[in-house]
């Protein structure tokens, strides 16, 4: 059916509707539904909606056409009128679907705050793990490592706090790091052990 034929056929059917001819009107609505389905389904698939959505939209358009059929002037062409209604309903349909999508994936601020607060547990957990690792160190070394590596204090401040020199703090820190490396590695390097032993006997 060419556009001109379709225009003529549907215009005639719309005029018949005003005379109360239900059969002609019903046939026209069926033809319109077929054409709409064919043109709208691929369009909706392209934006990620399924075929049943196309059917919903076709029904929306048919209802709109029917309810607003008085706004069509029999002296005017029918297809531009139908096109404007189809376009309006399509845009309205997409807007509604988008609103539905937004509602279904929405992140309420309460939920979001819980997510943000989540890492507090992780921080506690990692402190606990650090404690477990630091347990291999003697008390004096542990104090310095904790102050510098975990709490982030400067060497100078730590030295002042423990009433020793910065050099002493540095040396203790190095020893502690070596010991930690040794504890982390199940097969400790040979050279480290004698030196540690030597240090302890000094």
């Amino acid at each position: 059916m060419t556009v001109e034929e379709r225009e003529q056929r549907w215009t005639e059917a719309m005029r018949a509707e005003r005379r109360g001819e239900a059969v002609a009107y019903e046939r026209m609505l069926k033809e319109v539904a077929t054409v709409l389905r064919r043109s709208l389904a691929p369009r909706l698939v392209r934006v990620g909606l399924g075929a049943h959505e196309a059917e919903d939209l076709v029904q929306e358009i048919l209802i709109g056409l029917h309810r607003k059929r008085n706004s069509w002037d029999p002296a005017r062409p029918f297809l531009p009128w139908l096109h404007a209604i189809t376009r309006y309903k399509l845009i309205d349909f997409m807007r509604q679907r988008r609103r539905d999508t937004r509602r279904s994936v929405d992140l309420p601020v309460e939920d979001w705050l819980e997510i943000v607060e989540g890492p507090v547990y992780e921080a506690n957990w990692s402190t606990w793990e650090v404690d477990r690792h630091l347990a291999v160190l003697p008390v004096s070394q542990r104090k310095i490592v904790r102050a510098i590596a975990v709490e982030g204090a400067s060497i100078r401040n730590v030295a002042r706090g423990l009433a020793t020199s910065e050099g002493a703090v540095r040396v203790t820190l190095h020893r502690a790091i070596r010991r930690l490396l040794g504890a982390a590695d199940p097969t400790p390097k040979i050279e480290l052990l004698p030196r540690n032993a030597h240090d302890e006997h000094r």
């Binding site: 076709v58 008085n70 002037d73 531009p80």
Partner: protein, 209 residues
Amino acid sequence: MMSTDDLIRSLATAAGTRRSVSLQTAFAVTGAASLACALLLVFSVIGIRQDFAEMAVRMPFAFKVVYTGALVVGASVLALYAATPGASATALYALSPAVILLVCGVIFDPTGLPIMGRTNTAVAFCVGHILFLSLPAMVLTFVFMRKGAPTQSLFAGAVIGILSASLGAMAYTLACKNDGMAFVATWYTAACAIMAFIGAVVGHRVLRW
């Protein structure tokens, strides 16, 4: 959800039940009723100018009537265009006579009267009265527009605003004491703009179908 064939069958049974009053007829009735309401309000609430008979034959009054008339005609064409799906957009040119009159009124004002009116409160007074007079027209034209099928609700609402404000302004010409053409062109148009804004906001909510 019912099947499409069932839906079509049930729609088809309603064929021919809606008596076809054309949109144009419905609009003519709406427009006449709106203007009648505005005139009634002028006579009952505001009262016409004391020197009306003497003023009515002068140029400033003629300009007011012609300008508001051009607005009414232009906005009417636009309203019918907005209510009809797929209508030709050349209807937008219908406002051009009013725009030309507006520009001429502001630039070549032969009366030389101040643009802010005769008194300090003239602007607020005139604009406020026009807004008041356009309210019944706005309600009636919204009812009309809901009978039509506006496919751009913001635009249709704005057109309703312009139309009702120009109807209100047309009625207000009987009472307005400011004869400056620049005053009329500027502040009557401002009232139209305010109503257009209100109409667009309301239309966006009310005119969906």
